[in-house]
């Protein structure tokens, strides 16, 4: 998949929310840097997974791509079109080709609208399949594609289970035959056995309809399963992008490494043997992220350049990108010695020639 043309090209995407003081003038006091310079590409037909913990900016990134949240900087180019430049009308046209699936189908479906009407709504907005018969037929077809009985079209969301509601959400996203779908935590609110059904459905649809996905989730196992490549976010930045399996085998960024080490695996033997890297403390506030590398306050490998120099996302081999000075010292590779989880003591790090490491 990875050889396909670039469908979506995101450069330095920035979403800052202004913070105002409480005084009479409500002076601007700062910005919540929810997304702070995010760059990535999504190729046609691939699934890019976007993972990170709550508050890392992954959902905001997804919303900003469709301009459901206005970015404050950067560019988003979708199939040759600069999304940031579009006026309202042309933006609406674009949203026909970019759809979204939300986390909680109970909250994202109108409870007073039958599911048939919900699925038909995008068709109305975009004036597709005009005429009662044609629209009815299309809705039936969409429900069938996602594995729902078309006869349920007159039922309301509360009459369905969580998994079925998510299928309705997917049918709605598919209504206008989009090329690209942003799926924001589409399985997080579902039971395990139903999660698998939805993951399988999304994979099947991708094959049948040639869809491209940005799959946003916190569940690394699920993301790895469905994604071709994975981008890991921390505090508004992408810290690593790699092939899905390469990431799980060889994470390069210390945060990605810690995140992966914390994912529980359904295998008691592996659970007993593995070493978890337990990160100390909490994620810093996005209002005032640390200087330099924003992971340095929790990083077990922190050393001098981290506090002053902000590491760029750069190639670390085989299509893998990481934003970390461990891999960034020119001509040198920093060797990670001793137990990774030894807290603050950065002085134990050994800098060795890349040839020897």
């Amino acid at each position: 998949m990875s050889s396909g043309e670039v469908l979506l090209d995101v450069r330095d995407l920035q979403v800052w929310f202004p913070e105002h003081g409480r005084g009479l003038l409500r002076r601007l006091t700062g910005h919540v840097k929810a997304v702070d310079g995010v760059s990535f590409e999504v190729r046609r037909g691939e699934t890019l997974g976007l993972v990170g913990e709550s508050g890392c900016g992954k959902s905001t990134t997804g919303l900003a791509l469709l301009r459901l949240v206005e970015p404050t900087g950067g560019t988003v180019v979708f199939d040759g079109q600069d999304v940031m430049e579009l006026d309202k009308k042309r933006l609406r046209g674009l949203r026909r080709r970019m759809a979204m699936i939300f986390q909680d189908p109970m909250a994202s479906l109108n409870p007073r609208r039958s599911i048939g009407d919900t699925v038909a709504e995008p068709l109305e907005i975009h004036g597709l399949h005009e005429g009662k018969q044609a629209r009815r037929a299309r809705v039936g077809e969409l429900l069938e594609i996602v594995g729902l009985n078309p006869e349920y079209r007159n039922r309301y969301p509360h009459e369905f289970s969580g998994g079925q509601r998510q299928r309705v959400g997917i049918a709605r996203a598919l209504a206008c035959e989009p090329d690209f779908i942003v799926a924001d935590e589409p399985i997080a609110s579902l039971d395990v056995s139903i999660q698998a059904q939805v993951l399988n459905l999304m994979e099947r649809l991708q094959g049948e309809l040639g869809l491209t996905y940005l799959f946003i989730a916190h569940d690394l196992s699920a993301v790895q399963h469905i994604s071709d490549r994975i981008a890991v976010m921390y505090l508004g930045r992408i810290v690593e992008i790699a092939d899905a399996y390469r990431l799980s085998a060889e994470p390069k960024h210390p945060y990605a490494e810690a995140l992966l080490s914390a994912v529980p695996v359904p295998d008691p033997e592996r659970e007993r043997q593995r070493t978890r890297i337990i990160l100390q403390g909490d994620v810093p506030s996005p209002l005032d992220p640390p200087s330099g590398c924003n992971f340095r306050t929790r990083c077990p490998y922190v050393f001098e350049p981290c506090a002053t120099v902000d590491p760029d996302l750069q190639p670390v081999g085989d299509g893998q990108l990481a934003a970390c000075h461990l891999h960034g010292v020119v001509g040198q590779e920093v060797e990670r010695s001793a137990h990774p989880n030894r807290g603050e003591g950065g002085e134990e790090l050994v800098i060795a020639d890349s040839a020897t490491s």
Partner: protein
């Protein structure tokens, strides 16, 4: 921990039905399995025990015995059979995982232990023996002395289960003052100790903060501190890490494991996450349709799941680091509606191995198919299908 302490201290079906009344299919069936209470003999080896870490003591008497627990609710759509005859023993220091999906009855069954199921509309029957008393038969006042003191509970969502208008200090000290009769000063001192123990930095200064001033992980730590305040014999942890990020989840799991080893508390860990279970449980009970469908030591369950539901659950999990595979083996269909339980085995409408009408008409017994490994199925998962997972 010696090897003789078997993790298979199970008692899935009532075999010495001393106190059990009535004649549910469970109990009549179970007579076939009687005489083999694994907890009475050490012979059934250390299957599933975790000698390296576990604090479980299977030679001791169980701290908690649950006999034929049933919970029903009257609803607009008719009677909902949520828990349909649950039998198990909980041993000191062990972690018993209660695994199931929403509606399997896992949470309700533990709420019922503590008298937290409102009656009506609920109706709880059976027997829960703790300290020689049946908790379902004691008065509300006596129950209040047990709850939070002998048996404590940690809930899933710390934001909704902490009181937003009381300070953390007030909430942590409440139980100690009530149950242990500590003075306000003593309770505060102890609260600082507890909060420090669960890893809250500068605990003293945070006692007067309110829940909203804490992050999700920190709030869950507060919940754990409250749960452990009176050093309970039994701690029921209802999805304590589900609302948390995975790095925080790892911290909390480690914290509870450590405290458990220190205090010898028996933990019932309720979760839907088979990944978490693998890392922390001594024994596992898988629930479906209000019944235990499989019970065993943790290793056996993952090595050789016997019940098709467990097998299906494991098959539907994407596993980090596993090779790329085409499709997850999802379980088709939906869990049963408790107001309209299927006749026979609750899982038959979704079961890939269903062989004959027996599944549809008869409730399968919970059988000890292997030593210490029980499954509620007439048949075994065919080897080739289990291997194909």
């Amino acid at each position: 921990m010696s090897d003789s302490s078997s993790a298979s201290g199970s008692r899935p079906d009532q075999s010495d039905s001393s106190s059990a009344s009535g004649s549910r299919p469970d109990q009549s069936d179970s007579s076939s399995a009687s005489g083999s209470r694994p907890d009475q003999s050490d012979s059934s080896s250390a299957s599933g025990s975790r000698p390296d870490q576990s604090a479980a003591d299977y030679d001791a008497d169980p701290v908690l015995r649950v006999n034929d627990l049933q919970v029903r609710f009257g609803t607009k759509r008719g009677r909902a059979d949520v828990v349909n005859g649950l039998n198990y023993d909980l041993y000191p220091g062990e972690t018993l995982a209660l695994v199931g999906e929403s509606g399997s009855g896992k949470s309700v069954s533990t709420l019922a232990l503590l008298g937290l199921v409102p009656q009506p509309p609920g109706r709880v029957t059976g027997e829960v023996v703790y300290g020689g008393r049946d908790l379902l038969a004691i008065s509300d006042e006596e129950m209040r002395k047990v709850r939070g003191n002998d048996i404590a509970m940690i809930f899933q969502d710390p934001m909704t289960s902490l009181n937003p208008v009381l300070t953390i200090g007030q909430q942590v000290t409440e139980g100690m003052r009530l149950h242990l009769g500590l003075s306000e000063d003593d309770a505060r001192t102890r609260a600082v100790e507890l909060l420090t123990q669960v890893g809250i930095p500068s605990a003293e200064s945070r006692l007067d903060n309110y829940p909203h001033q804490f992050s999700g992980g920190m709030r869950q730590r507060v919940m754990i501190a409250i749960g452990l305040a009176c050093e309970p014999k039994v701690l029921i942890a209802d999805e304590p890490t589900t609302a948390l990020d995975v790095t925080i989840q790892a911290q909390i799991v480690e914290l509870i494991n450590g405290l458990q080893a220190e205090l010898g508390t028996a933990v019932i860990w309720i979760t839907h996450d088979l990944g978490v279970v693998a890392g922390l449980a001594d024994r596992v009970m898988v629930m479906y349709g209000g019944r235990i469908v499989e019970q065993s030591g943790v290793d056996d369950l993952y090595d050789e799941p016997l019940h098709p539901y467990t097998d299906g659950l494991l098959g539907s999990l994407p596993v980090l680091g596993a090779g790329r595979k085409k499709q997850l083996a999802a379980i088709p269909g939906l869990p049963p509606d408790p107001t309209a339980m299927p006749s026979g085995c609750a899982f038959w409408p979704r079961c890939p191995h269903r062989l004959d009408e027996r599944c549809e008409s008869e409730q399968p017994p919970l059988r000890e198919t292997r030593p210490g490994h029980w499954s509620r199925c007439f048949y075994e998962v065919p080897e080739d299908q289990a291997a194909a997972r």
